[in-house]
Amino acid sequence: MTAFLSVIVVLPIAAVVWESRRDGAASFWDVVTSPGAVDALKLSLGAAAVVALMNAVLGTITAWVLVRDRFRGQHLVNSIIDLPFALPTIVAGLTLIALYGPRSPVGIDVFGTRVAIGLALLFVTLPFVVRTVQPVLLELDREMEEAARSLGAGELTVFRRIVLPNILPGILSGVALAFARAVGEIGAVVLIAGNLQVASVFIFTHIESGDRAGASAVAVVLLTISFAVLLVIGGVRRLATRHERV
């Protein structure tokens, strides 16, 4: 098992880190701070941050509607949430071009803009917050809310003081996963982004042009972000179980 994991995951990761350090730390820094790399990283991090925040709000609303609301077709809507897990990302990108590209039937053409990147990232990260918040909302004891209401608390107060503290760990781990996914996404973005280069496309083009050091340097930055996100999620999980909630 350890051997398998080493061959599949650990050794390849080590190779990237080693390659980025081969010409010394100073050269690594030069590559990471070169204009092209900085632009790509800024674009990816910025888009991922915006998308993660939008997920926090819209994902929580969607989870709320799926748990507390009742309407026809709800089961179907609930199943469709998982579509981004099942659909190949390149297909996701292509579907967005069909609706929001040059030949848009609704007259919205965002091809090659930051908005397009945001849409593509929203598509692939949509399930994360919904699927981490939904189970907690389902198990949440409604009596606490009723008690607060009977004591005269308004809806906003009930949400802020009772519901939010309970679902916050779920929101945070969902947002963290969505952020990690968005920073490294390529399939959904590569077609609709036009000439804009996100970090993963930067790595891709630099491999194709034979610049291994440049590709590796940016890859190490992405790798660090991934590990940081996993640490955050681990921390949130520990904090949540301390309050006896998953």
Binding site: I8, L11, L99, A180, A215, L222, G234
Partner: protein, 275 residues
């Protein structure tokens, strides 16, 4: 009167939230998928048929299925073993193993592709040795399989672990005291009680393998009719200005995804009931 105004506003609030959620899903998910299905037939059904029966397209789908057929069983066995190790055993660096299992969920597939490229490419740690022995890893099936295994690694383990925790090990211990071997215990006790979790994990793994793009795009070399997979074929058609062709292949992949989605919906209650 104050009661009815509260009821009215709570009804209005509920409708507003429902409206926001449904509009969001329509704009981001459902709308785009519907438009693709409709646009596919822009140039007539004949073009769709020509694209899908093109030998390169057929070969691309065969590659996708071949890679998936190798990666899914490997990850299923590995996922069960890792799940058992993490839940039932204690060993040094268990936390580290736990972290590495989740890594593919948070890591860009492009970084995965690059790492294999560096390892097995010319001048890489293993690349020269394999080349000297006449074994082609990069730009061939082995690297594509390795990349796909990497990106779809966590799904079975992640489904199996909570179920194993939930069922506990009392039955397993009882079987062992009655003289069952480790393998007998696994086959008769453990496996039947986690089977829906395993199946659910396999479905997720399959979906991930069928749809892999970033990592495979780097390590396959994207050779038309050789190492091109279905997702790479979609990109190839798109960049060659054959939009309808790209849509046709995308719709086939989307249909596969919808089958996976239906399987997930049917399996989910069973998987959760197991816990």
């Amino acid at each position: 009167m104050s009661v009815s105004s509260v009821a009215l506003s709570s009804g209005a609030r509920r409708l507003t939230l429902r409206g926001i959620a449904l509009f969001y899903l329509l704009a981001i998910l459902i709308g785009p998928v519907i438009v693709v299905c409709w646009r596919t037939f822009d140039q007539g059904a004949g073009h769709v048929w020509d694209t899908l029966t093109d030998s390169n397209t057929i070969h691309a789908f065969e590659m996708t299925l071949l890679v998936t057929a190798i990666a899914v069983p490997v990850n299923t066995v590995f996922g069960i073993i890792v799940g058992l190790a993490i839940v039932r055993r204690n060993f040094p660096l268990k936390g580290l193993l736990n972290a590495f299992i989740d890594l593919p969920l948070a890591l860009s597939p492009v970084v995965v592709g690059l790492s294999l490229f560096l390892l097995y490419g010319r001048g890489g740690w293993f690349g020269d040795w394999f080349e000297a022995h006449g074994i082609q890893i990069l730009f061939a099936l082995p690297a594509m399989v390795l990349a796909t295994i990497f990106v779809s690694l966590p799904f079975v383990a992640r489904e199996v672990i909570p179920t194993l925790r939930e069922i506990g090990d009392e039955q397993e211990q009882a079987a062992r005291t009655l003289g069952a071997s480790a393998w007998q215990t696994f086959r008769r006790i453990t496996l039947p009680s986690i089977r829906w979790a395993v199946i659910y994990g396999v479905v997720l793994t399959t979906a991930r393998c069928l749809g892999e793009y970033g990592a495979v795009a780097i390590v396959s070399g994207r050779l038309e009719g050789q190492t091109e997979t279905a997702t790479l074929r979609v990109e190839d058609r798109y960049t060659n200005f054959d939009l309808a062709g790209a849509y046709s292949i995308a719709v086939v992949l989307a249909s596969m995804a919808i089958l996976v989605l239906i399987a997930m919906t049917l399996l989910k209650p069973k998987e959760e009931a197991e816990r």
